[in-house]
Subunit: 307 residues, 6 copies
Amino acid sequence: MAQTFYVVAERIRKLEVQGARNVAIAAIKALEALTEETTSKTWKEFLKELEEARATLFASRSTEPLMRNAVRWIISEVEKSGKKRVDALAEVVSISSKQFLKNLEASKECIANIGAKRIRENSVVFTHCHSSTVTHLLNKAKKDGTTFEVICTETRPVFQGRITAKEMLALDLKTTFIVDSAARSFMRSVDLVIVGADAITSEGNIINKIGTSTIALSAHEARKPFYVVTELLKFDPATVCGDFEKIEERDPEEVWETAPRKLNVRNPAFDVTRRDFIHGLICEEGIIPPHSAAEVVRRKHPWVFRR
Amino acid sequence: MAQTFYVVAERIRKLEVQGARNVAIAAIKALEALTEETTSKTWKEFLKELEEARATLFASRSTEPLMRNAVRWIISEVEKSGKKRVDALAEVVSISSKQFLKNLEASKECIANIGAKRIRENSVVFTHCHSSTVTHLLNKAKKDGTTFEVICTETRPVFQGRITAKEMLALDLKTTFIVDSAARSFMRSVDLVIVGADAITSEGNIINKIGTSTIALSAHEARKPFYVVTELLKFDPATVCGDFEKIEERDPEEVWETAPRKLNVRNPAFDVTRRDFIHGLICEEGIIPPHSAAEVVRRKHPWVFRR
Amino acid sequence: MAQTFYVVAERIRKLEVQGARNVAIAAIKALEALTEETTSKTWKEFLKELEEARATLFASRSTEPLMRNAVRWIISEVEKSGKKRVDALAEVVSISSKQFLKNLEASKECIANIGAKRIRENSVVFTHCHSSTVTHLLNKAKKDGTTFEVICTETRPVFQGRITAKEMLALDLKTTFIVDSAARSFMRSVDLVIVGADAITSEGNIINKIGTSTIALSAHEARKPFYVVTELLKFDPATVCGDFEKIEERDPEEVWETAPRKLNVRNPAFDVTRRDFIHGLICEEGIIPPHSAAEVVRRKHPWVFRR
Amino acid sequence: MAQTFYVVAERIRKLEVQGARNVAIAAIKALEALTEETTSKTWKEFLKELEEARATLFASRSTEPLMRNAVRWIISEVEKSGKKRVDALAEVVSISSKQFLKNLEASKECIANIGAKRIRENSVVFTHCHSSTVTHLLNKAKKDGTTFEVICTETRPVFQGRITAKEMLALDLKTTFIVDSAARSFMRSVDLVIVGADAITSEGNIINKIGTSTIALSAHEARKPFYVVTELLKFDPATVCGDFEKIEERDPEEVWETAPRKLNVRNPAFDVTRRDFIHGLICEEGIIPPHSAAEVVRRKHPWVFRR
Amino acid sequence: MAQTFYVVAERIRKLEVQGARNVAIAAIKALEALTEETTSKTWKEFLKELEEARATLFASRSTEPLMRNAVRWIISEVEKSGKKRVDALAEVVSISSKQFLKNLEASKECIANIGAKRIRENSVVFTHCHSSTVTHLLNKAKKDGTTFEVICTETRPVFQGRITAKEMLALDLKTTFIVDSAARSFMRSVDLVIVGADAITSEGNIINKIGTSTIALSAHEARKPFYVVTELLKFDPATVCGDFEKIEERDPEEVWETAPRKLNVRNPAFDVTRRDFIHGLICEEGIIPPHSAAEVVRRKHPWVFRR
Amino acid sequence: MAQTFYVVAERIRKLEVQGARNVAIAAIKALEALTEETTSKTWKEFLKELEEARATLFASRSTEPLMRNAVRWIISEVEKSGKKRVDALAEVVSISSKQFLKNLEASKECIANIGAKRIRENSVVFTHCHSSTVTHLLNKAKKDGTTFEVICTETRPVFQGRITAKEMLALDLKTTFIVDSAARSFMRSVDLVIVGADAITSEGNIINKIGTSTIALSAHEARKPFYVVTELLKFDPATVCGDFEKIEERDPEEVWETAPRKLNVRNPAFDVTRRDFIHGLICEEGIIPPHSAAEVVRRKHPWVFRR
């Protein structure tokens, strides 16, 4: 298989690429590279090559539904095209790759437009970790002329909240920054919680940065609306079939670089937020109850369930 | 007033002394120093000097009920003694100071004996921050031959959980260490939560390290017993009279040393855990529902309410 | 534009027409009048006239999804017809107007048939405000021979509960009448709560007369079934796109005619009841969980989402 | 028995005197009148007369613990005095009556001082009905220089909330006035709920104006602090012995003057708020958890339990 | 009508056949027998005969949605076939009967494959009553090499839990057996609850053996995942139209053979578990939130709603 | 030591005596027997004999606080008497034994009087297992002329509910009898739950027959009042000091006589009901919140805490 593909796939596997969206983009680029460098002579060979690439990419990370759905889509487009020449198929890869990225961008825009309407004048928005979809949405609300402030957590262990804080300040938004443990103490002054997602399960739960579910619980306790902004394509069809969304466990050194030798440092990167804590998923199909996410995906993106 | 007293009072004021117990001990030592260095000629002068010392100590920190109760006790002993000579009164200070410290030590021992019985064989104990009363209790349980493991949080922003982790390893206990945000993810495997306290309010709530109330909420959500170990003398009589337990706000640099200039970094040191999340207070009077804490203090330490 | 149309549209705007169903009927009548009095010469002119009428009606009230969906349907039928003569198009308006009203009536009948089965023998039914769909349903249950009693609230500020009470007595049903604040006190003796709705949101929440959400909360607290009877066409597609269902704020004089000048009297007409408090929506498609309302509307009335 | 006594007792019985405090004051005045007009010759006759007066007053209203405790106290003072002359006993009645009223006034003052500290700067305080203890407390907070606003309900059926609203405006406080059903809609913007009480039960529940328990439920749902201000002497010792606190049912015409003949209008004046919804009772003994109310009464007013 | 059909229908009516699956199989066999023994000469006669058989079977039991759906399917296949000869129609009955049974078997297999993935290594699975779908799933998990233990209730009044216990032991699984009342006491040590279902309602609730809803409540209280394994064809379309799922009430002697004559022994066989207590339905379409069950049935088995 | 004492102690140990009250009575009788048959010559010998008897009785059962408190009381009376002759001390044993039994009887009477007032006309009372205190209370209510019905569970594994059912029928009360698992299904029609207790803990929880805590949870879910009737002397002072109330585990054969050999049948006799599910303890001191049970015992029976 082509050289560049492997380099990228390896970078994904080694966690050098981070964030659901970045991983998906990298995988798409890898497929494009594969196509450009292919030495396949027949469409059968090419399809086999693609299938191997898919297996490699799927194996590179325990759970990355957006990336997997990107790969699924591109291969399904190739198969659907019915073309029989390698160069024609390669072109399908190229076109559908671009299309996927374009759709992804459009979804983000659409989500920002919808979600920005939920930011009320003079309100306080709480967020956790860093999500480009969330910050894009807040940017939109700000541009629409809404006045609001933001509270963001630092998000241990790798402090992604600092990125969020800087972006919020760059938007000239009044921003408060707290340790993760202080979320419940500040919840009473919050009007709305918005977070991103890494995956949506068939039960309607979402997977997001560790700490999200606790914030959802605190929001629920204080009757504060809790919204998740996410592309529908973060839906993981494997969960339909009973697979657990695997929670990536990262390097303990992120938590404590000089931890005592016998200490069992655990570093799960994500947690699961129950559908009952979520007021709505803000996705490219509008605001939906998480309970119907799977059915909406079936209606909108039926190919997700095919393989 | 005496030199040494001021030095110590100043160290308390500047947060150089940390932890309810250490602050109380420092204040007692300050009073002893004051007594040793006193230049008062008459008992009236001496009492006035004591009264000023009390005011200085009370003003040094927004809330430190244990320290305040220590000072209250010593001065009430002095007044009760009815003595009229400065050296006699000084001796009362000295004796009652020692008595207070001895009682404090006895309480800790008593709490450890009681609480250790609650650690069941092969159980998992969860704790937050560092409390010498909690670790003493776990030490006792271990010595009693109980086999159990410990999960402790890192406790941002100043990582007191690392002290706890090291002490647990030193006791040869299997210890798991997590970021604060992961508490809810690990709650399902927990059998018992035990934390310390900085203050008890008249409503039966407790004040403890930021994050405690969220852990209590998560424990409640998962029907896990949540216990608070604390000397009754952490009861704050000012709350009876409507004062809020003030939540100390510490240096933002603890949270982010190089925070952007305009960022509003907030760093509250404590939060409030509602009585309804607390299965029991483990104190020197045994295990009591937090709802009756004020009445138990009235029965056991009526002098606390006097001034 | 035609005279009669404006008269009716103005009556809607001035709140002279009340109740989701009545507003929808008035708007349909207005469109029929517009059609009868049209001076358009070409289909383009006619369509433009219709489009302006639509804009006028939509602007007349902050939220009236049933009316808006009626207008949407009629215009979509006109467009779908592909006809090119004004009189032919006018006939489509006329036919589809009648069809909409007929469907509305059929929905009400269907809802009554379904809901009446839920009234158990010797039960106590609680309702709030006045909803003709609810009273029609109770009428049906009574006719089916079921023996039951009714508790209804007075429904401040304009006492619509008195209309309900009179209708219930006219049906010869044992009826108890209470102030709104007494709802929770009587909830223990209730077997079933049924209320109407003014709007359904994309999250599955319903908008109904102020006080509904509190009754839902009290029913939930006492484990009493809470049902909402509503035509699916009260679904508001704007909520899918992030718009808040706007809560109409009425004349403060309804609350206190002679209120002191500086008093800030607030008079919101509706509130939002969360999907989790609702056992089921009883609609023309049967009893459905509110969580799937949007998907059922998509399946049954896809044109609602078109514009 | 004396004329004036009967006149007053009759006014109490006919509900011409309203409000726990006013009823108690009226009963005390009646006892003073009885004493002044007594024709008893011996202390035995006088005591018998008092005993009959007590029975008359207790029978005049289904539940008025403050009035009953006032009568209990005065008679217990008479008995305790050991005096044997009618004029001496009459003097005891006179002195203890004055003392009771003075204590009552002092309690109110004390409660205001304590409670006012709980009103935070720039907060929104929610109240229901009209309680002179609550308005006195808010007056105190205002005088202390705290800036806050008030939301009050109209309190159907007799609109006592209008009295509250006028008093708040007279204090120059920003005041919002809503129908009772809108309480939950405004709860999100509330910082603190404070209400009065008519009775405290042995279980720690409180009895207050109809609608209170629903507001407490809504406050609980939104994690808002809910406080009850009340003199401890509203504790009803009969509840210890299993008696229900009887809920007075008032004239249906208060609800609907021209109600249809067959309509069963119910008009309970009070409801029961569970101890678990109450953050604290603010009473003359400070802020206490309602769970310990009975024990605090035993400690402070042991005579309440005697008969 | 044919002899054998009546014998089987009668056995169903007399509760001699038990369990949703067995009743469905018996009814299918009855239809096959009817077909084999038919004396109908024309397709009209045959269809009439089928229709009568359907009525007889539907009347035989108050609620057996799986059986009813089986009959619905077979008759709808017959009608759809458009065939006009009795022998050809009889063949359709025969083929579709076999098909239904095959699909049922395939569903069970599919459910086992999906559900088995949810059994984590070293976990404790709790179940109630006896469900062949549940035990098949556990069998699959065991075969897949997962190590786990099982807790099962005895399931009064007819001790079906003993069958489950024996089957679990036969699989060599560590099995704990308790009385039904002890379920909550053991819930803390449980990792997962799995039960079967007799019916699914349009609201997303499930009907299962008496006691199920209490176990669901206890699981919810302790934040334990609660799954229901069920074929989608247990969906009861009558509930869409407002019918209550009727709860069969069995012979009181099952509860107490020698009960005193005047004792009102009640023996409902099933109870209703609310959708909000159910993490997911594990069905042949994968794991779905119960809230979308009706929509999934509409998508997958639209014929269910036809009659 | 005396023969008869040992016979009785042995019967207690072998679980031949059942029920907190019966065990206490048996222990008292054993002490009386010991006293009658004593061969002690001196008061020191006698006290030693008593001390040994105490140890024997305490060791006979894991938890029986009423029995332990009976023994504590009698021995404390003996010690308090200050008598120095064996026959005089024996008489103290005899007198205090009788006194304890008399007090116990008086408590039961008092509890019945208090609790009977809580049975409202035409209400439905739910109870679990058999408690002579509960049935005595219901008897009292019946005698007082209240009309009510009773629902009782069978109470597996040893069907004590059958005894309750028979006693209720003997009182001519309408009685419904259900399996334990059906409690939640019938909870909606219940007005009041009353159960007995075997022990009260320092946290305010109660220990009662297995299944009680689930019924309490179901009552809480449906907002039904849940009362526990119990003598205060069931308070276990060992729980103050951290001891768990040990839950007796009985013979597995009670659950399944012919259980398969490898089946792990568990048969805990009791469970723990949290204070928050209990509306009130109905005890000889009146109705109290369980949260203050320990303080009430301290006030009323301070000797309980002595040893």
